[in-house]
């Protein structure tokens, strides 16, 4: 008699425990699912971004300084892994895209450098001219009518000809100091043209997205 009376209670008890266990499994599954992260694609994106900004990357002048002229899809093709969808954007503009990546994005700060070409006709009243901005090299063009014997950059002789320097020359300058060119000899305004190549930089965010 007593065992009979407890049967519905056992059924209810089993139902309650089973329901609670099922709920617990669902919650645990959800917790695991939300804790799981796409570590593989994230690591790939971070590594690709790191490689693109390295000092020996095909895109950079030095670390974190991208050369604007080399920032092309063809130049990037060789630098990114070939077996995953990948997108590389610089400053919000997509430079290279293969497939349709929707995975994690690695964001890095970089500077995009562009060489400008600036021409200058020095007045030559005092034989010297200071280049307003730094440049690793300069092109000096001297007319045949001028009688310049020596050209110095910050007292270092870069061009010398006792019979007169004539023609177009590329000279290397210091990247670390402002350059003062000195033309020794006889020259007037218009005889000499100096072209220099200062660098203009602007900031850009490099974004690498990897993974489907």
């Amino acid at each position: 008699m007593r065992g009979q009376a407890n049967l519905p209670a056992v059924a209810v008890a089993l139902l309650v425990v089973t329901t609670a266990a099922g709920l617990a499994v669902v919650v645990a599954d959800g917790a695991f699912a939300s804790a799981e992260r796409d570590a593989g694609p994230r690591a790939t994106a971070a590594a690709v971004a790191d490689r693109l900004l390295a000092s020996d990357s095909p895109l950079t002048d030095r670390r974190n300084v991208l050369n604007a002229s080399r920032l092309t899809a063809a130049g990037l093709e060789a630098a990114v892994p070939s077996d995953v969808p990948v997108r590389v954007a610089v400053g919000g503009e997509t430079v290279y895209e293969r497939g349709d990546p929707t995975g994690p994005t690695a964001r890095r700060l970089a500077v995009v450098a562009e060489r400008q070409t600036v021409g200058l006709e020095p007045p030559l009243e005092f034989e010297t001219v200071t280049l307003p901005r730094r440049s690793p090299r300069a092109t000096i063009e001297v007319d045949p009518s001028a009688g310049i014997e020596t050209v110095r950059a910050n007292d270092r002789v870069v061009l010398h000809d006792p019979a007169g320097v004539v023609g177009e020359y590329d000279v290397r300058l210091s990247r670390y100091e402002t350059t003062r060119l000195r033309f020794e000899g006889r020259a007037e305004e218009g005889d000499v043209t100096v072209t220099y190549y200062p660098r203009r930089t602007k900031k850009a965010e490099l974004e690498v997205t990897v993974g489907a």
Partner: protein
């Protein structure tokens, strides 16, 4: 027995079992902390800003812009505005920064508790530290 209105023993056992199960479940639901995704990204930003600054030519003297500001207190005072402008230009708009040198700091006060990225650059006259955090 029936008159005393006792709860069935099976129900009591089930209740105790459910409490145990819920205790384990609560461990899953509350115990897994959210992963910190902001700090590594901020550290990358700080590292990048430090690299760019460390590679830049100085405005007047020294080897790089950062070694210039650590040379002396005078040099720091002279360069602090330019340094602030430059860091502002390098960093993205959603970032705030502080640059600490042996002679003082430029940028904003660091907030307490917010995730912050940090990078240190050695120079001949002391360390320059850059902190970066989200606005």
């Amino acid at each position: 027995m029936r008159d005393r209105g006792q709860l069935s023993l099976s129900i009591v056992e089930a209740a105790v079992g459910v409490v145990f199960i819920l205790a384990v479940t609560a461990g899953f639901a509350l115990g897994v902390p959210a992963a910190d995704t902001e700090t590594p990204q901020l550290s990358a930003y700080a590292e990048d800003a430090a690299t760019v600054l460390a590679g830049e030519p100085p405005r007047h003297a020294g080897e790089t812009r950062l070694s210039e500001v650590t040379r002396s207190a005078d040099a720091f005072d002279r360069e602090r505005d330019a340094l602030e402008r430059r860091v502002d230009r390098i960093l993205a708009d959603n970032l705030m920064y502080r640059v600490g040198t042996p002679h003082g700091a430029v940028g904003h006060e660091r907030p307490a508790g917010a995730p912050t990225g940090r990078a240190t650059v050695p120079t001949p006259n002391g360390e320059v530290t850059i902190w970066v955090w989200y606005v």
